[in-house]
Structures are given as structure tokens and as C-alpha cells.
Symmetry: C2
Subunit: 465 residues, 2 copies
């Protein structure tokens, strides 16, 4: 999709001077830095900001936003730049606030199973920090994204079927509002009925209502037993039916991931693996020794009923890491199938009862296209992804991928699903948001208008003003 | 607390005529009906509406709200009237919309583990309806509240430690907005990253942003094995330490409830039981046969370390029902300890690591007061309740209960807790909301202003305008 054309006003020199005075050489206008901050990992047209501010504290972010507010200048938050729907593109120019250097783990309350971190801390960094505590943070969108970015896009990933998404796992946020004021959205209590749920409002708001500078997340005890397994199926329908029955039986799998034959072929080549080229499920089981044994027996029986091969086990930490790294590299692996291609990733999520049908119809549609694609998904949630590997020089390929995407989203919506399970709206899915939510988008617009009357927070994303 | 004095404008006769034309004899202005709809189950001063409309459909609610909006007349939603912070008091008069007759279960998707109901369906009614499906809806605030009311107050209760609160268990809502427009907040997919989380915004909004008319909730498979047990402890600290260690060990108890000796005495007398008069935990375990056995062994060992008596088991459905009914009747049981008294219920929630300290300090404070009280709580979440049994004729008792409540809330906030874990704000805890959230309350006010510019939706609750 080409970027919506928005009016771009040059940065006011006085604003630039004030920012420079405040940040010194942590304010950059170098072409390379600007370019890097205007793009994400998708095919969406990038759009560079006019300056990048590397913030070190909530107070600094507050000062930056307050200055920008004076000049009605756009402010775009930036974490690791791994989003996929054009979230960080500075469509109207303005100041990008890079939070990567706000990377301190502020506090771990092991007894309460929570941690508070600055927004730039990544999920791997947090888990590394927690290594000796017996605790872990489960949300894993694949990329080593920042916690602030994950909160802002309501990320989820492979473990969500067991542990929930960022929606369920953020306890509280510190947010800099559009006028520079700083709020804390909640206390550390596990639950609260005190007023509107501001935490959940900012989770998924993609920087359009404020900038998240600190995140308090839930932690979990590392299970006594963890095992992972791979199972190939004769058809994708068999694999999906196995997922559906597993979920409907209430078996608390920690991960249940589908990869179609194209995706398996891609990761075999990319990660030098030897999986059978077939629709395949990757499982992970968490629990007590007895609990994991019980879960695996139940799932093996279900898989076997659906023609699944014997499970290939990954029991050591090293084997498991290799398995999941390959899964996480699926995107890059798919792109490597077609050298020089650019990825168009998209995702939808449907009620689990419609998953088989939705995937089957989507695969039929893809089979009639010449655009290469691969399918993978967090299917326990009813969530799956496509990656189109397109030649960026060929507009007809972009157009064709667009039509396939349109049809997949329309299909998901018709099945009471959502236009995005975890990637978010950015500027890539704004029309789909309207198709999905209809008049509820007006409520979103009212909220945006109320919290950001001058429209300076990541303009051109989620809702059109 | 006495009701905030708000200006009360008499109902416009033309509005009354229009409503009567639309609803016929389902519009009532009889004194008894008005009185019944202005009060909840607490000590808060009631305030009757000027008319009560018994709605039969979302369209009717929409028409009622649209008419009221024309005359800028307050609209207050009413479910079962079991809330506890003055939520339903018509502080400025206006029209109460009683949703009790919107009590159809619209759809159960057993395969997707969800159900959609009209707002007036109660939790017991839903579970009765589900009886032959093998599924159940776990959220249980004690009262047989309506699902719409439970969503509106972000209710939780005894099962929340395992299954979450209404926040986690509402998938989507149908809401009538302040101008009468109707929105659906989400599709049926388990997760979504599509735009602002309107579902979570309306969950807990207490009718101040719109009226919830339909609720889609998550369901769960009835576990293969369920068992419940009662265990008495030498001191309340021993009981609380047992809870803390159980939670920190990650044991997935379904219920873990604390009752102090006063509360046990009360339910013994009220429900004709013979529990030892001592601080006591009520447990329930859900899972496979092996899983439940494993959980109970672990918890028994922890309880035993803390001086707990032998577990008294309730294994049959009938025994369990009796046990939990007694727990649910705790409020009425406490009031019966002091005939003629009125209850002042309050609740707070703190991080679990602070629970023992918070309860101990609270008990010390209570010991120095002459107001009788009882303590019970959903302690697995760090949430506990006090009931003061006050003589409503004695202003000094109201004042003293108010001071005790003030101190308990201040103590919880100082321990990073919340002023209410599950009862909500209503008009009883508006000052505490401010103490807890500070400048974040301005954000709540902005949202209220944006979605209800004329301030007609349940005025005088949550935030002062």
C-alpha cells in the first residue's frame, strides 16, 4: 500500500533548536538515521521523520512531546522498528522518539510475579535479566521487540494460546500524553474495578494516544517440565482439525503452531533442517512432569486420529531453542525462497470453529495466484499469517497481493473474525478497521480527538481524522 | 456516604409521553417501582429515578436513550440492583432503563467456547442454560447478578484467581451510546489488534459511557474433576501466608477464599454450619483427576506447614453447593449478627506480597473500633472485603465506618493496591479514585466528555464533571 498522502510541514527551526538544547547530540537529523526510523519490516512505503530524539527518561519524553505540542508537530514513538503495518512511518514528518536507550529493568517483584521496565527493554533482554529468578515473561511475537512497542501494538505470538496477549499481561503503563503530561494507568494490584480501564485503552493504541514509557508486566514461574514436538500431517485440514479438537478439549498447550508445506520448505532451507515437507504442527507443553505427560498423551491421540506422523521431540533447551528459532525465522526464510523479494505479511484471526474453513478457502485462493506465499499461524487462537513474497519492482504483483489480502480479510470478517489478530492497523489496515467495526470507529475517533486534539500523536494511523 | 447533591430537573412531560407511547405499560412511574430502582444493596443513600423503562430489545434501549438525549435527561441502566457503591442511584433523577426482561440467551457456540446473551441474563441462568453442554461460565461475584451489570462493574469474585475477571472474559459487547447509536465493540475472535480496545473501555464503565445490551462471554469446559475443601488456621497470618505461597508456587487453584473468625461465626449461625471459629480458607480445585490430586497434595503441604488443620472435603456437587452458598451468603450472615443493622461493604486489592501486612494492619485498626465488622476475601488475587454492620440511625457509626474505610483504602494505596478490586466506584469511591489515579482521572474525564457530551449517562458516578 502506498502511504496516504498527508500534508507535510517542515520542522520549525525554533523547535529543532529547543530539542537540540534539551538533548544535545541525542537529537539526530542525519539522513541515515532519519531513513532508518521511517520504515518497518514490511512492504509499506516508508516515510522518514524530520528528526530523531533518543530519549533517556520519561521526563525527557514529556519535554519532547510538550515542545512538539507547542508547534503542533507530529511525534512518532519508535521501539525496534519490527512492526508490520507501517506503524512508524512519519506520514506528516515530525519528530521520532526512539525509546531504545530507555532500556533499564526498573524493578522485579518476584513475590508478586511482576516486573516494571522502561519501554525500550526487549523481551529477550527481560528474560535474560530474569534468568536466575525462576520466572519468565512469555509473550513472544517472534521479533525481539521492545516491551513498549509490544504493548503499543497489542502483540501476542506463539505463547498466547496459554498465557494470553499483551492485553492480558500488562498490569500498568506510564504514558506521556499529547500535551506532555505523564500518567500512570494503574497500580500493581492484579485486578481493579477503579474507573475506566486506561491500561487496556493504551495497549494497542499504536502511539496515537500517547507514548508508553514504562510497562509493568505479569511474570510466570518457569514450569517444572517443558517439552516440544513436531508433527507432520497428510493435509492442512488434518492439522487444523487436530488444533481445533485440542483447544475444544481444554488441553492447556503452551504453543500450537501451524506451518504449511511452503513454510516448512522455507525453514528447512533457511535453517538447514530436515522436516518432512508437509503441513506441520509445532507444539510446546508446560506444566508439572505429570501434567506435561498427560497433555502430550491426549494431544498425541488426537493427532494420530487425524493421520499425524509420530511426534519428533525436542526435549533439551538447546533443541527447543533451535526449533523455535526456526519458527521465528519463518518470515526471513520465506523471503529467501525468492531472492530479492520483499515480504507482504498479513494476519487475520477467526473463531476456532471457522479456522479450517478459513484456511482451506484461503489456500484455494492462493493456489490460483502466481504470487508465491507461505502460511503459518498461532492457530490455537484462530490466528494465522500469510507472507506474500513480491517483487517490489512489479506494481502488478503488489496489486495482486493486495487483492488476495482483501479477500482473506473479507473472508475472516464474514466468519466473525478480525482483520488483524496481532499485527495491528498502522496505516496498512485502516480500511479494514472500518469494514470490521463500522460505527464503532466513530467512537475510536472521538477518543482520539479527546486525547489528542491537535492530532500530533503518530498521525495517519488507526483512524482517519 | 450521603449522595452528592446534584441539581434535579423534573422529567419533561413530553418526554414522558413519548416514552409511554413507545413502551406502553412497560414504562412505570409507580412510587414502589421508582423507589426499588434507586437503591442497591449497600448503605449508600438511594435516589429514585423519575420513571423506569422495562426494555425488551437493543432497539428499544436505543430509542429510549435517543429520546432522553433530546431532552438532556439522565439515563441509568439497571440490572439486578446488587451493586454496592451506589451505582444505580438516580442522583439527578431521569429515566432508569431496567434490562431484566432482556433475558434471552441469544447464542451458544460450544465449539468456540463462547456465548452471547442479552444484558439481563444472570450468571445462574446462563449456567442453567449450559447444563447439558459440558460448559460453564465461571465468573461468580456471589450475587446472581446480570451479565450486563457484571460487565459494567468489571465484576469478578471467587473464581477470578483461576479464570480472570469480566475484563478477561468478555469478548464483545453491544452498547447503546449516549446519542442512541448502537455499536458492537468487537468480533468473536479470541484476540484482535484492530484498533482501540472498546470492549475493555466499556467493561467497568458503570453505565457512564453507554448502556450494555448484549454481552459475548468466554465459556470453559467443566473440569473432569472438582473438589473443594475447608481448612482452619491458628491465626489469620498463617492463613494468608498459605495463600501467598500457593499463588507464588503457581498452583492453579480455582478458588481460594479467606474468612476471618467473625465471618465464620456469622455463616455458622446463618447457614447452620459447624465450622471451627477460626480464620479459615475455602479452596476449590479444578482439573483432570490426576491434576486435582497433584494440586491438593501441594496445597495441603503448604497449609500444614502453616499450622492448618486437616482439610474438610466437599466432594459431591451438593456438598460443594452448600459450601459456596454459605460463602456467598457471608454478607447477609454478617448483617444477621447484628439484627437491624445495615451493611457497609468495601473492598480493596493489593499485590499479593503485601496482603498479609495489609490484612494485619486492617485487623489491628478494626480491633480498636466498636463497630462490628467481618472480613472475607478473594485472597488469591490480593482482594479482600470488609463489612461494617452499622446502625443506620446513628450518624456517629456511619462516620466511624467511614474513617475505618478511609484508612483501609489509604493503606491499600500505599501498598500499591487499588481502592476497589471488584465493587467499582459508583458514587461511593470517587474521592478514592482521585487519590489512586491522580492526573489519570483527567483522561477518564476527557473520555467521558467525548462520549457523553451532555452528561446524561448515569451522571455523578466515577468522575465528577
Amino acid at each position: 500500500m502506498t502511504a496516504t498522502v498527508l500534508e507535510r510541514v517542515p520542522l520549525n527551526p525554533q523547535l529543532l533548536a529547543s530539542l537540540r538544547q534539551r538533548l544535545g547530540d541525542r537529537l539526530s537529523t542525519s539522513a541515515a538515521v532519519l531513513e532508518q526510523h521511517g520504515k518497518d519490516e514490511s512492504y509499506h512505503a516508508p516515510s522518514a521523520p524530520d528528526a530523531v530524539a533518543f530519549a533517556h527518561s520519561t521526563e525527557e519524553v514529556s519535554d519532547i512531546v510538550r515542545l512538539c505540542a507547542q508547534y503542533k508537530t507530529p511525534v512518532i514513538a519508535f521501539g525496534t522498528g519490527t512492526s508490520l503495518e507501517g506503524h512508524v512511518a512519519a506520514l506528516k514528518g515530525g519528530v521520532c522518539v526512539d525509546l531504545a536507550q530507555m532500556n533499564r529493568v526498573l524493578r522485579v517483584n518476584a513475590e508478586d510475579l511482576d516486573a516494571t521496565v522502561e519501554a525500550g527493554v526487549t523481551r529477550k533482554q527481560l528474560n535474560e535479566y530474569l534468568r536466575d529468578t525462576g520466572l519468565f515473561f512469555p509473550i513472544d511475537p517472534g521479533a525481539d521487540a521492545s516491551l513498549g512497542g509490544m504493548a503499543a501494538t497489542r502483540a501476542s505470538g506463539t505463547n498466547a494460546v496459554r498465557y494470553g496477549t499483551m492485553r492480558e499481561n500488562v498490569l500498568a503503563l506510564t504514558v506521556v500524553l499529547a500535551d506532555g503530561k505523564v500518567i500512570r494507568t494503574a497500580q500493581r494490584a492484579r485486578k481493579s474495578a477503579a474507573g475506566y480501564d486506561l491500561t487496556r485503552l493504551f495497549v494497542g493504541s499504536e502511539g496515537t494516544l500517547g507514548i508508553i514509557t514504562e510497562v509493568t508486566v505479569r511474570l510466570y514461574g518457569i514450569p517444572d517440565a517443558i517439552s516440544a514436538a513436531v508433527c507432520a500431517f497428510p493435509t492442512i485440514a488434518d492439522a487444523v482439525d487436530t488444533v481445533i479438537l485440542t483447544i475444544q478439549s481444554g488441553i492447556p498447550v503452551a504453543r500450537i503452531e501451524l506451518l504449511d508445506e511452503a513454510q516448512i520448505d522455507a525453514i528447512n532451507k533457511y535453517s538447514k533442517l530436515d522436516h518432512k515437507i508437509a503441513p506441520t504442527l509445532f507444539f510446546e507443553f508446560h506444566g508439572s512432569e505429570a501434567g506435561v505427560a498427560e497433555q502430550t498423551e491426549l494431544v498425541k491421540a488426537i493427532a494420530s486420529e487425524h493421520g499425524g506422523d509420530d511426534f519428533r521431540w525436542a526435549t533439551t533447551q538447546e533443541e527447543r531453542s533451535k526449533l523455535w528459532q526456526a519458527r521465528h525465522d519463518a518470515y526471513y526464510a520465506a523471503l529467501a525462497l525468492r531472492p530479492g523479494s520483499k515480504g507482504w505479511p498479513t494476519d487475520v484471526c477467526v473463531p476456532i470453529s471457522r479456522l479450517a474453513e478459513c484456511i482451506a478457502e484461503t489456500k484455494r485462493d492462493l493456489a490460483q495466484s502466481t504470487i508465491p506465499s507461505a502460511l503459518a499461524g498461532h492457530v490455537g487462537d484462530g490466528n494465522f499469517h500469510l507472507i506474500f513474497m513480491i517483487d517490489p519492482e512489479k506494481p502488478e504483483e503488489l496489486a495482486e497481493a493486495g487483492r488476495l489480502n482483501d479477500r482473506m480479510v473479507a473472508r475472516a470478517l464474514a466468519m466473525e473474525g478480525t482483520c488483524t489478530g496481532e499485527h495491528g492497523i498502522g496505516y496498512g489496515k485502516m480500511d479494514f478497521l472500518l469494514a470490521e467495526h463500522g460505527p464503532a470507529v466513530d467512537v475510536m475517533r472521538n477518543i482520539k480527538q479527546a486525547l489528542d486534539p491537535d492530532g500530533i500523536m503518530n498521525p495517519g494511523k488507526i483512524v482517519r481524522m
